[in-house]
């Protein structure tokens, strides 16, 4: 531990702590612009200058390590003058006129710093040099005129996302943020995660979808989770007057540590489907608006006549509460197996392994965040479950190795040390042969020939696996044509044979929850006279929708108008993910709670309430039993 004095306050901090962080721990605020708690210190803006006894000049506190008996002053006249001068220089460097800037009035850290110093004006005018504006990106505008060269975005892109798209070119006043080697942002390797926008202290990087919709002080913030995939990233949903303004990553989020991807940040802003706002019933060939009561009465009548020939299909984007309620309704109606929109792909295969192991065998996400060797199989994590790839990619510059086993080229090819392309139907066999070679250190030639791979390359990959202190295997389920359970089993054997950690990405946010509640059977609607399909707000694929084309009587619970609702016989409007609360089990077994951030239209019900109304009409009693999902045997330990 290190003892120092800051503003006459005795402070004890861990060795290696910066003076800035020591001050923060003591509750002393030092203004900064380039510093960000999630990024490595850079010392670029000089706003955090402090007086240190014995030092000739003011020192930047963000890069200065605290040392024993250091005496620091953070609020002297000399420091205040220096801060004002620094801010003046920053303001006069480019175009920092507040009245026509998006972030002015609360969201700008530069403006707030000037306020904090009591600056009523700046004494030096800018030199009026115009810089370009890059509006080539679908979600982000890069306004060079507002840039203060703090490089937070560059550090976030590299350190947090591991993408290294952003960098700087030129020197001094000519310094410019560039994507790749000077490409327009929209044509660059940017993956649109928007982390750079979230850390930008000024209006240099703005989110064009939320621009001018409201400032931090105008909006309400709801801390909830993203339902975009099975990770369940912690997010803050910013709303104003019951309209979505912006979505930000929650820095305190246990699972995602603040980073989110384009699916979480921008896709909800870009929602282009029309809402279903009233129940509809098909009459004389056309869908006509109806009351909930009338629509449910039609279902009731049909259900009575169908003699149990009913099928229930439910989206795994629904909460545990909703899945449980729907399951009960279906069981009372005599439905044998409730299936999920995922067609049972994501968990069932893992279950065959579970049966053999009989206790949780998958690792937690946190367990693999610091691995030094990753092997991915069965999924392009730069496309699905992207945040997993952020944590993998950010470890690569530190020496972690990445081996990818896939049948086709993926976004990981640019990052992987070893991309091993093996056909889907041969992956299971390859994993077995590869692990044999890794363990014995022999037969690489044979394996390489068998799977048409380069022997030397394969051997290098093998030795990377063998020398790994912490091996993590990330397995997905996106196979075009293969028995995925055999791949999953092979991946599990590979991992455990080499004492690694296994994480399967699963599919949707509640895929694990659905399997825990046993509503994850493969979709089968043949022979059913009525199909109750709960699409919720899920975007079903063409293949998924095709399964319901020939259903005699289709009931769709949906938030949005889709080709499916157009062909349905009864459509019931339900809330989207932002309008309802509920619990979810994410891919590594965390019980997560989503909180509603928006109010739905009066005729639109939550899934739970919609199923409740249906149950009431059908004279079915339901009770809350969703917590049974937490106690059922699971592939991964459930964290309540």
């Amino acid at each position: 531990m290190v003892n120092l004095t800051i503003d006459e306050k005795q402070v004890e901090v861990k060795e290696g702590t910066t003076v800035l962080n020591a001050a923060r721990q003591a509750g002393i605020e030092i203004p900064t612009l380039c510093d960000h708690p999630e990024l490595t210190p850079y010392g670029g803006c000089r706003l955090c200058l402090v007086e240190i006894e014995g030092a000739k000049t003011l020192q930047p506190s963000c890069t200065m390590p605290a040392s024993n008996n250091m005496v620091v002053k953070t609020d002297t006249e000399k420091i205040r003058e220096a801060r004002k001068f620094i801010l003046t220089m920053i303001f006069s460097e480019r175009n920092h006129f507040c009245p026509y800037c998006q972030v002015s009035g609360g969201d700008c850290e530069l403006q707030n710093s000037a306020y904090a110093e009591g600056m009523t004006h700046w004494p030096i005018q800018p030199n009026w040099k115009p810089y370009p504006v890059d509006a080539s990106h679908p979600y982000i505008v890069l306004e060079h005129n507002r840039c203060i060269l703090c490089r937070r975005c560059v550090r976030a892109c590299g350190e947090l996302v591991g993408n290294f798209t952003l960098g700087f070119e030129e020197r001094g006043a000519e310094s410019a943020l560039v994507a790749d080697l000077g490409l327009p942002l929209g044509d660059s390797s940017c993956i649109s995660c928007g982390t750079c926008v979230q850390v930008c202290p000024t209006g240099a990087l703005i989110d064009r979808w939320s621009a001018y919709l409201g400032k931090e002080i105008d909006v309400e913030t709801t801390n909830t989770i993203c339902l975009g995939c099975s990770i369940g990233c912690s997010i803050n949903v910013l709303t104003r007057d019951n309209r979505l303004v912006r979505i930000e990553g929650d820095w305190d989020g246990e699972i995602n540590d603040g980073v989110i991807c384009d699916v979480g940040r921008f896709h909800p802003m870009n929602e282009d489907r029309d809402r279903v706002l009233t129940p509809m019933v098909r009459k004389g060939g056309a869908l006509k608006a109806a009351t909930w009561d009338d629509a449910l009465a039609v279902i009731n009548e049909k259900a009575k006549a169908s003699k149990g020939k009913i099928a229930g299909v439910v989206s795994t984007r629904l909460s545990l509460e909703a899945l449980d309620t729907f399951n009960q309704v279906c069981h009372e109606l005599g439905v044998t197996a409730v299936s999920s929109t995922e067609e049972g792909r994501s968990i069932s295969q893992a279950f065959s392994v579970l049966v053999k192991n009989s206790k949780p065998f998958e690792a937690k996400f946190n367990d693999i965040k610091d691995a030094d060797c990753y092997l991915t199989v069965g999924e392009d994590i730069t496309k699905d479950h992207q945040v997993v790839s952020f944590f993998v990619k950010r470890n690569l510059p530190g020496g972690a190795k990445l081996i990818q086993v896939s049948s086709a080229a993926t976004g990981l090819d640019n990052f992987a040390n070893f991309s091993l392309h093996v056909a889907d139907d041969k992956i299971a066999g390859f994993l077995k042969d590869f692990s044999d070679s890794v363990r014995s250190g022999a037969d690489y030639a044979k394996v390489a020939t068998k799977y048409s791979l380069d022997e030397k390359f394969l051997e290098e990959a093998g030795s990377a696996v063998k020398s790994a202190a912490k091996l993590a295997v990330i397995v997905g389920s996106r196979y075009e044509s293969a028995d995925s359970s055999s791949i999953e089993e092979a991946a599990a054997s590979f991992t455990f044979g080499l004492k690694g950690k296994l994480v399967s990405t699963k599919g949707n946010i509640n895929s694990l929850g659905a399997s825990q509640l046993k509503v994850n059977n493969p979709v089968s609607v043949s022979g059913a006279e009525i199909v109750l399909l709960v699409a919720g707000d899920e975007r079903l694929t063409q293949v998924q929708m095709k399964k319901f084309e020939k259903v005699p009587f289709l009931v769709v619970f949906s938030s949005y108008s889709t080709p499916l609702t157009a062909s349905a016989d009864v459509v019931l409007p339900v809330m989207n993910w932002m309008e309802q609360s509920g619990h979810f089990l994410n891919f590594d077994g965390h019980l997560l709670e989503a909180r509603a951030s928006l109010k739905a239209d009066e005729n639109v019900f939550s899934n739970v309430d919609a199923f409740g109304k249906l149950a009431e009409k059908l004279n079915i009693k339901i009770s809350s039993t969703w917590e049974s999902a937490l106690n059922a045997p699971s592939v991964v330990e459930i964290s309540k």
């Binding site: 175009n95 006129f97 004006h121 700046w122």
Partner: protein, 180 residues
Amino acid sequence: MAKPKVASDWLAGCAGCHMSFLDIDERIVKLVELVDLRATPITDLKEPDEEGVVVGILEGGINNTTNERVAKQMRKRSKILVALGDCAVFGGVPAMRNFFTLEETLRRAYVETPSTDSSGKIPSSPELAVPTRVRALSEVVQVDVFIPGCPPDADIIFFALSELAQGRIPKLENNNLMWN
């Protein structure tokens, strides 16, 4: 003791700051109890008293020779010169044109706008003020009090004026400090 004289004028601004001043509503009655409101764009008197005023207030930046003359006259005739609003303090919205050459902006305004027909031309007459680069008030004359804001809130203007009326230099901080 005689009430302190106050005069104001507007330069390259949008009159919004004076509108915001009028937004102090009935408090203006209180204000005229404390000060003698002289020449302003919204009173009959158009030039500040030759013998001088205590407080001179200017809205807007300086974008031509006339504004320059008005600013210098106000400076000369007032004890305390106040820059009111972002244009007077920083240059503000009109200063956007400084990122282009003067000729470019004039051509854009008089020749290239979609509503200009082929006869569009840049006006030039010895009677017209000569346009210049847009400058903050403090670039041309010495300013004593800066009240930023686009426009400054009526409450901020009232606070500043009542401080000045009572012989104090207003100190803008916390909620009273807004650059917009």
